[in-house]
C-alpha cells in the first residue's frame, strides 16, 4: 500500500543516477525506475514506492556511426527521438511497440515489449549489443560493446533485458541498427486466420503480420522491389498506407494481457478467448494481446491453456484488485530459485520495484 507520495528524482547523468540509487538503496527505500511510463501497469502491484527514479533527462544519442550501423544512446531517449535521428541516415531500429508513442529505450529494454516487426527482425534481445546499468550499490556496470558480434565475457544484456528493472537501472545501451528497406509495402485483408496463414507462407516472408479480432490482417513486405512486387501481386490484397501501423501501435486498452506461446499453439488459444473478446496477434511470432473485459476467472482459464502449451499470460495493465485476483505472471518458472539468488546478488535488500517482477 502506497501511503505517501514518492520522492521524484530526475538525474541528468548516469553517475548522478547511480548516486541517487545508492543513497536510496542504503536507506532501504523502495525504488521504482521510470522511463516513459508506458509499461507501468506491467507486473505485480508495487508493495511500496518511496523514490521514483526517472531516466527522462538521460536523453542523448551518444554516438551514431552510420557506416558501422551502430548507435549508442542514453536510456531515457524516446524511441521516436532515436528513430528521427537514425532516419537522417536512412536507418532505423526495428522496434514498434504497442502503447506508443512515448516509450523510452531503457523502458523498452526493461519491459521487453515488442511489436509487429519482431517477425522479421527479432526482439531487441537480438540486436542489443551493449548495455550499461546502475546497480543498487551505486556501481555502473557495462557489458557487451559497440561491435555487432561479441563474446567477450558474459552476455549480461540478456540478464537485464525483460527483467523490469529488478536487478539495476539501465542507463545506456548500444544497438545494431538496420538500413531502411528499399521497398516497403503494407497490405490488408479481411480474411482472418486463413489469410494470415497463407501470407506467412509466401516465398518472400512478410516482415510483419498482424491479425485482429475483427478478422483484419495487416501484412508488411519489405526488401528488394521485384521480389516484393511479385509476392504482392500473387496475394492480391488491398494496399494501405503505413499509417495503419502507427495506429496499430497506439493500441493500449485499460486492462490487457500478453499471451506468448509457441506460434503453432497461438490460434487454438486465441480461439478459446471469451466470445466477442477484442484481441490482436502476431501469428508468425506466437504473441497475442487481449483487451480484457471479462472476469478474472476467464483470464485464469486462458492462462492455464497458455501455460499448458508451454507459454505464458502476463498482465500488462489492469486495476490493482484485478491483478491481485489473477496474479501478474502466472506459474513461476522452474528455475525461480536460481533467479532469486541472482536477484539477491544484485539487489540484496530488494529495493528495486518491490513486488513487481517475478523475483
Amino acid at each position: 500500500m502506497v501511503v505517501k507520495a514518492p520522492t521524484v528524482e530526475r538525474p541528468s547523468t548516469a553517475e548522478d543516477l547511480a548516486r541517487a540509487l545508492r543513497e536510496a538503496a542504503a536507506q532501504k527505500l523502495a525504488i521504482v525506475p521510470v522511463g516513459g511510463g508506458r509499461a507501468r501497469g506491467m507486473g505485480g502491484v508495487l508493495e511500496q514506492c518511496d523514490v521514483e527514479l526517472h531516466t527522462t533527462k538521460l536523453g542523448r544519442v551518444v554516438e551514431h556511426s552510420q557506416a558501422d550501423m551502430v548507435v549508442s544512446v542514453e536510456a531515457g531517449i524516446t524511441l521516436e527521438a532515436l528513430q528521427a535521428e537514425l532516419a537522417k541516415s536512412g536507418q532505423f531500429l526495428p522496434l514498434d511497440p504497442f502503447n506508443s508513442p512515448g516509450h523510452t529505450i531503457g523502458g523498452l529494454l526493461a519491459s521487453g515489449w515488442t511489436g509487429p516487426l519482431r517477425l522479421r527482425y527479432g526482439s531487441p534481445r537480438d540486436f542489443l549489443i551493449g548495455i550499461r546499468v546502475a546497480l543498487p550499490d551505486g556501481k555502473l556496470a557495462t557489458a557487451g560493446g559497440r561491435v555487432v558480434k561479441n563474446v567477450s565475457g558474459y552476455d549480461l544484456m540478456k540478464l537485464h533485458y525483460g527483467a523490469l528493472g529488478s536487478l539495476g537501472v539501465i542507463v545506456a545501451a548500444s544497438f545494431k541498427v538496420f538500413p531502411k528497406p528499399l521497398h516497403d509495402v503494407t497490405l490488408s485483408s479481411g480474411g482472418a486466420w486463413n489469410a494470415a496463414v497463407h501470407a506467412l507462407s509466401t516465398a518472400v516472408a512478410p516482415s510483419a503480420l498482424e491479425l485482429d479480432s475483427t478478422g483484419r490482417v495487416l501484412a508488411r513486405y519489405t526488401g528488394s522491389p521485384d521480389a516484393i512486387t511479385r509476392t504482392v501481386d500473387e496475394l492480391g490484397w488491398q494496399a494501405v498506407g503505413q499509417a495503419a501501423w502507427d495506429e496499430h501501435a497506439r493500441r493500449a486498452p485499460e486492462c490487457w494481457a500478453r499471451i506468448a506461446v509457441p506460434r503453432e499453439a497461438l490460434r487454438r488459444i486465441i480461439q478459446a478467448l471469451p466470445s466477442g473478446a477484442e484481441w490482436w496477434a502476431s501469428p508468425g511470432v506466437g504473441i497475442g494481446h487481449w483487451a480484457i473485459t471479462s472476469d478474472a476467472a476467464s483470464v485464469v482459464e486462458i492462462r492455464a491453456r497458455a501455460e499448458a502449451a508451454g507459454g505464458s499470460l502476463v498482465m500488462l495493465a489492469a486495476p490493482d484488485d484485478f491483478i491481485r485476483a489473477v496474479g501478474p505472471w502466472g506459474t513461476p518458472p522452474s528455475t525461480l530459485e536460481v533467479m532469486r539468488r541472482l536477484k539477491q546478488a544484485f539487489d540484496p535488500d530488494g529495493v528495486l520495484n518491490p513486488g513487481r517482477f517475478v523475483v
Partner: protein
C-alpha cells in the same frame, strides 16, 4: 591423478571403460584448437544427462574442477583443463532427439555435430543457420557454450539468436530447463546468460534450436581487389548502401595463395585480397541484390568478379574459405588465431596495424575473416618445433588485440575469451563491469569448480596495461 575413491565413484556412474586415466590416452585431451595445453586428471565420457549430473555432484563434493568438452575444436583454450580435474566429454551424447518441421525446431544432445543437424533437417526444407568454419567437426553443445559464429552470421545472427532453450547441469549437479519454445518467457533470461558462458556456469546436456527455411535461391560471388584496404572499403560501401548479404568474407593474398594451391577453386592469386559474397532469398531478390553488389564492388576497385554458376562451383568457393586455415599448413605447420572485432569502418586501419605487427616480429600473417561483421581473424603462422618462436607469436597476438581494442573493438567476436585472452579483459571492462559478471559466476558456481581459470583475469597475475582507446562512447568509458 584423482584420488582413487573419486575415480571409483566416477566409474560406477559412467562405467569402467568410460573413465580415462592412462597417461597416453589423457594426452589426446590436452588441447583444443588453441596453442595452450594441460593434461586433465581424468576424462569422463558421459552418455546421459543423469551421468553428467552425477559426475558434477562428485566433483562438487570433492572440489575437483570440471571442464565440459565437445569436439575440442575451440580456439580460445576453453576446453583446456588448466587447473587439472575432469574433462567431461559429451560427444557420446550425439542424438538428434527431435526435428519438428511445423514448429521449425530441433532438440539435440550436446555432442551432435553442427553440420549433421543441417544435413538431417534438409529433407524438411530446413537448415540450422550458425555455421562455424569447423562445422564438420564442432558440436552444438560447444557452439552454445561459446556462442559460436560463422560466415552466415552476418545476416542470420550468432548461436544465441538461434537457441530457444537448453537443459543444463549447474555446479551443484542440479538439472534445469532454461527457456523453451515460447517467446517472452516469464522471469530472468537464464538461457541468454548461459549461452556463451564457456562452460564456466554449467554443462549443457540438451539444446533446442530454431531451424530456418532453406532459401529457394542462393548467389555466391568472388571478387578480387588490389589490396586489403580497397577490399575493406568495398565491404563498407556494400553495407553502407543498405545491403546486408548473407555472408561477406575476406581473404588476403597469403591465404588465397595457400587456398588456391590446395583447392584449385580459381581464386585469383595475384589479388591483394578477395571477397566472397553470398546473398540468398527468392530468385528475383538474389538477382537484384547481386547486380547491386557487383556494381558497388566494381566501383570500389573490384575486378575478376565471378559468380558461381552451379551448386558445385559454389561448394568449391566455400570449401576454399572454410578450409582456409587447414590450407595454411602449406606455409607453416602451426597457427595462432585471434578473432578481435572492430567497428567495420576501422577494418582498414586495424588490418594495416596487424600487417605491421607481423613484419615487426618477422612472422607471416594470413588474414581470413568475416569482413561484414568487422570480425578479423589474423593467423600468425609458425612452427611449434622452434621453441624460441612461441613467445614471439604470443607477443604479436597480444599487440594485434591491443590494436583492436584501441580502435574501439572487443577481444573476441566468436571464439570466446577462454584462457588466452582473460588477462586482457581489463582492457575493455572496468573492475565494476567484471564485478557484475563475477556476481553471476558466484551465484551459479560459488565454489568455482566449473571450468576455472577462464574468462576472468587471474587475480594473482600482474595486469597487462593498455594505452588508450578511440570512439566517443569509449572515451566516455562505456565501451
Amino acid at each position: 591423478m584423482l584420488p582413487s575413491p573419486v575415480t571409483e565413484e566416477l566409474r560406477r556412474i559412467v562405467g569402467r571403460e568410460a573413465v580415462i586415466e592412462s597417461a597416453n590416452d589423457l594426452r589426446i585431451f590436452e588441447r583444443d584448437g588453441s596453442i595452450a595445453g594441460a593434461i586433465p586428471d581424468a576424462v569422463v565420457l558421459a552418455s546421459t544427462t543423469d551421468q553428467v549430473a552425477a559426475v558434477i555432484k562428485v566433483a562438487a563434493k570433492n572440489h575437483i574442477p570440471v571442464v565440459p568438452r565437445g569436439a575440442g575444436t575451440g580456439l580460445s583454450g576453453g576446453a583446456v583443463t588448466i587447473h587439472g580435474g575432469i574433462a567431461l566429454q559429451v560427444t557420446r551424447m550425439r542424438c538428434i532427439l527431435e526435428i519438428d518441421p511445423v514448429a521449425q525446431t530441433a532438440l539435440v544432445e550436446p555432442g551432435v555435430v553442427n553440420q549433421e543437424l543441417s544435413l538431417v533437417a534438409a529433407p524438411h526444407g530446413l537448415f540450422y543457420a550458425p555455421d562455424p568454419s569447423s562445422q564438420k567437426a564442432c558440436t552444438l553443445g560447444g557452439n552454445a557454450a561459446e556462442n559460436s559464429g560463422g560466415p552466415h552470421c552476418l545476416y542470420y545472427g550468432v548461436t544465441t539468436n538461434h537457441v530457444l532453450g537448453m537443459e543444463v547441469v549447474l555446479a551443484d549437479g542440479s538439472v534445469h530447463w532454461v527457456s523453451g519454445d515460447a517467446p517472452d518467457r516469464v522471469g530472468l533470461d537464464l538461457c541468454g546468460v548461459l549461452v556463451g558462458s564457456e562452460g564456466t556456469l554449467c554443462a549443457i546436456t540438451k539444446v533446442k534450436v530454431r531451424l530456418l527455411r532453406i532459401p529457394p535461391s542462393v548467389a555466391t560471388m568472388l571478387a578480387a581487389f588490389p589490396s586489403i584496404e580497397t577490399a575493406s572499403q568495398a565491404v563498407s560501401a556494400v553495407i553502407g548502401n543498405g545491403i546486408v548479404p548473407a555472408a561477406l568474407e575476406m581473404m588476403d593474398n597469403v591465404t588465397v595463395g595457400a587456398v588456391e594451391a590446395h583447392y584449385h577453386a580459381g581464386y585469383p592469386t595475384d589479388a591483394g585480397a578477395v571477397l566472397l559474397v553470398e546473398v540468398d532469398g527468392t530468385a528475383e531478390s538474389t538477382r537484384e541484390l547481386m547486380a547491386a553488389i557487383g556494381k558497388i564492388l566494381s566501383d570500389n576497385h573490384g575486378y575478376a568478379m565471378r559468380e558461381a554458376q552451379t551448386p558445385a562451383e559454389r561448394e568449391l568457393l566455400w570449401a576454399g574459405r572454410k578450409g582456409a586455415i587447414g590450407a595454411l599448413g602449406r606455409i607453416k605447420p602451426n597457427y595462432y588465431l585471434h578473432d578481435g572485432v572492430v567497428p567495420r569502418t576501422r577494418l582498414p586501419r586495424v588490418l594495416s596495424a596487424v600487417g605491421e605487427i607481423g613484419e615487426h616480429y618477422r612472422l607471416p600473417v594470413a588474414n581470413v575473416f568475416h569482413a561484414g561483421d568487422g570480425n578479423l581473424h589474423p593467423n600468425i603462422l609458425f612452427d611449434m618445433r622452434d621453441h624460441e618462436v612461441l613467445h614471439q607469436v604470443e607477443a604479436a597476438g597480444e599487440e594485434m588485440l591491443r590494436a583492436v581494442v584501441e580502435m574501439g573493438g572487443a577481444l573476441s567476436g566468436e571464439h570466446g575469451i577462454g584462457l588466452e585472452k582473460n588477462a586482457f579483459m581489463p582492457w575493455i571492462y572496468s573492475e565494476d563491469d567484471l564485478g557484475a559478471m563475477l556476481r553471476v559466476k558466484d551465484v551459479l558456481d560459488p565454489d568455482g569448480i566449473m571450468n576455472p581459470g577462464k574468462i576472468f583475469p587471474d587475480p594473482s597475475r600482474k595486469p597487462v596495461q593498455l594505452a588508450g582507446r578511440t570512439g566517443l562512447a569509449v572515451e566516455a568509458k562505456w565501451w
